[in-house]
């Protein structure tokens, strides 16, 4: 048998690839096998293994959640309204179609993200400047709101009133910054 690549030298390296149950046999001579090897070795950021593993990881998922879902929903196939990617499609290629997919598939995604990222599922890094202000304002407002509840329980009404004013002020800022960001 001659090498598939060069058709000149006899094939010396034989291997069988099985990808998604599809079997391919490859016969190469030593030279070409080495060249192929060289090709593999430059596959720098090889998403290969990772994405394949990912699909496996995601495939396990539905079985865990079957009981939680209501049977009615199960029959519907989730589809992203923006890029029309379906969840089965995502499982197959391991990549999303657009930014909105994250929202569409959020319920399925959460446990997966946790597994991929060492238990984490909330971002704690860089925030784009244009929305940065909004996020920190919202966090501050949430903090103040719980302080307000606390002071009401403690019947410290004067302090509660000043916290309330502060919240109103921040909420005004927030709406202003959102309008600016939306332009």
């Amino acid at each position: 048998m001659n090498c598939q690549e060069c058709n000149q030298r006899p094939a010396a390296v034989h291997f069988t690839k099985i990808v998604n149950g599809e079997k391919t046999e490859v016969h190469l001579c030593e030279k070409c096998a080495q060249e192929k090897g060289e090709m593999f070795m430059f596959s720098g950021e090889s998403g290969f293994s990772f994405n394949n593993l990912l699909a496996g990881l995601l495939n396990i998922d539905p079985s865990f959640h079957k009981q939680e879902q209501n049977p009615f929903q199960q029959e519907e196939i989730l589809q992203c309204p923006h890029c029309s990617m379906t969840f089965p499609q995502f499982l197959k290629i391991g990549r999303f179609g657009c930014a909105h997919c994250y929202e569409t598939f959020q319920d399925q995604l959460k446990p997966v993200l946790r597994r991929l990222h060492g238990g984490n599922w909330t971002h704690s890094g860089k925030i784009p400047k244009r929305i940065g202000g909004g996020i920190s304002l919202r966090k501050k407002i949430d903090e103040l709101k719980s302080a307000l509840r606390e002071s009401v329980i403690q019947e410290e009404f004067e302090e509660a009133a000043s916290i309330r004013d502060e919240i109103r002020e921040l909420e005004r800022k927030l709406t202003a910054s959102q309008q600016e960001g939306g332009k």
Binding site: Y102, L116, H117, T122, G125, K126, I127, P128, K129, I131
Partner: protein, 357 residues
């Protein structure tokens, strides 16, 4: 073309310059993945959207160019020759995926090639900064500057909970991949590497031989990078990686010292045999070349070989790959012809070192 001129054109700064700890860390790389919020991801996007992405980037370049690195050059994948693309892949400036499977791809390169921005690869934007030696922080701050520059002009897909949204959920959050390329002959020779790799994996980092398949690392060169992108800040990811890497550096240094103590003459012999092979061979395969280059580099770092620049390993590992050999030869070469060319190029390059003295 003379080899010297070819080198001047072919070698990027991370290959020819030395950085901190560059006896062990060859290069530091930061990659940030970003996407526009108004176009579909490259997985499914249309012709028009792809063009629009490039158009938008061109717009930013025209309106407010990024000055720090001089002129940035935009190269479109469909306008490049196969060999030209391959050379960029071999220099790690673009990914094989961008070169082969991204018909709408493009790359924005800085003059010194420290910065390359891939467009329409797996994500709309991938900012890459590649620095010599251990300079992860510097690479991160440069990548951040570029990110800020783009962000001033365009809207990136960002979710308050999930961070930067990426095509693949393995990159969501910071979109950051920090990686260090390390030369670890001491740990390989003393067989400690087999113990160290699983330990590193447990800490959430990935170790791969960047040349060579599977566990075998050609030229004893390994790449260590983070796996987790969500829930940790960019600085924490880099700090944790640096922590692991400084451990590896000190282990590698003590392995080298242990080898010098236990088998000095054997090591010296090995180094000079390899130098002999590189200086005199007429036909050399990439595997053998990588092994000998690693030995010679170790010989330089440990003081057995004098008057030879350290960067010879970085340079020749890149330049003896098929794409470069063919570019130097000025046309396609068959594998056997490449082995001859490779031997000639290595001999000439080493000759240049002796002439410098």
């Amino acid at each position: 073309m003379s080899l010297e001129r070819f080198l001047n054109k072919a070698v990027s700064s991370w290959m020819s310059q030395e950085g901190p700890d560059s006896d062990i860390v060859l290069s530091s790389r930061i990659r940030l993945a970003r996407n526009f919020d108004n176009y579909s991801f490259p997985t499914v996007f249309s012709h028009e959207e792809a063009k629009q992405v490039i158009h938008d980037i061109e717009g930013v370049l025209k309106k407010s160019p990024f000055q720090k690195f001089g002129q940035m050059e935009l190269l479109k994948i469909d306008e490049m020759q196969p060999l030209q693309k391959r050379v960029l892949v071999e220099k790690h400036l673009i990914s094989p995926h961008l070169s082969d499977d991204a018909p709408h791809g493009a790359v924005l390169l800085s003059e010194n090639e420290e910065v390359s921005i891939m467009i329409n690869e797996e994500d709309h934007i991938r900012i890459q900064c590649l620095f010599p030696g251990l300079q992860l922080k510097e690479a991160l701050s440069t990548a951040n500057e570029i990110d800020d520059w783009l962000e001033n002009a365009v809207h990136f897909a960002f979710d308050e909970k999930l961070g930067y949204l990426t095509s693949c959920p393995t990159n969501v959050g910071t979109g950051l991949r920090a990686s260090l390329m390390m030369h670890l002959p001491g740990l390989v020779m003393t067989q400690q590497i087999n113990r160290i790799i699983p330990a590193i994996n447990q800490l959430g980092f990935v170790v791969r031989g960047i040349y060579g398949e599977g566990s075998e690392a050609l030229g004893n060169i390994f790449q260590i990078s983070n796996q987790i992108t969500l829930g940790k800040s960019e600085e924490d990811i880099c700090r944790d990686l640096m922590g692991v890497v400084s451990q590896i550096i000190s282990q590698e240094r003590s392995a080298r010292e242990a080898l010098r103590k236990s088998s000095n003459i054997q090591l010296e012999d090995r180094v000079f045999r390899s130098l002999g092979v590189l200086t005199h061979s007429r036909i050399i395969e990439s595997k053998e070349a990588a092994r000998c280059l690693s030995d010679v580099r170790l010989g330089i770092d440990m003081g057995y070989i004098h008057n030879m620049s350290k960067t010879i390993l970085n340079e020749l590992m890149i330049l003896t790959q098929p794409g470069f050999l063919q570019q130097y030869a000025g046309g396609p070469l068959r594998p056997y012809e490449r082995d001859i060319r490779r031997a000639a190029l290595i001999r000439e390059r080493i000759q240049m070192e002796t002439e410098k003295r």
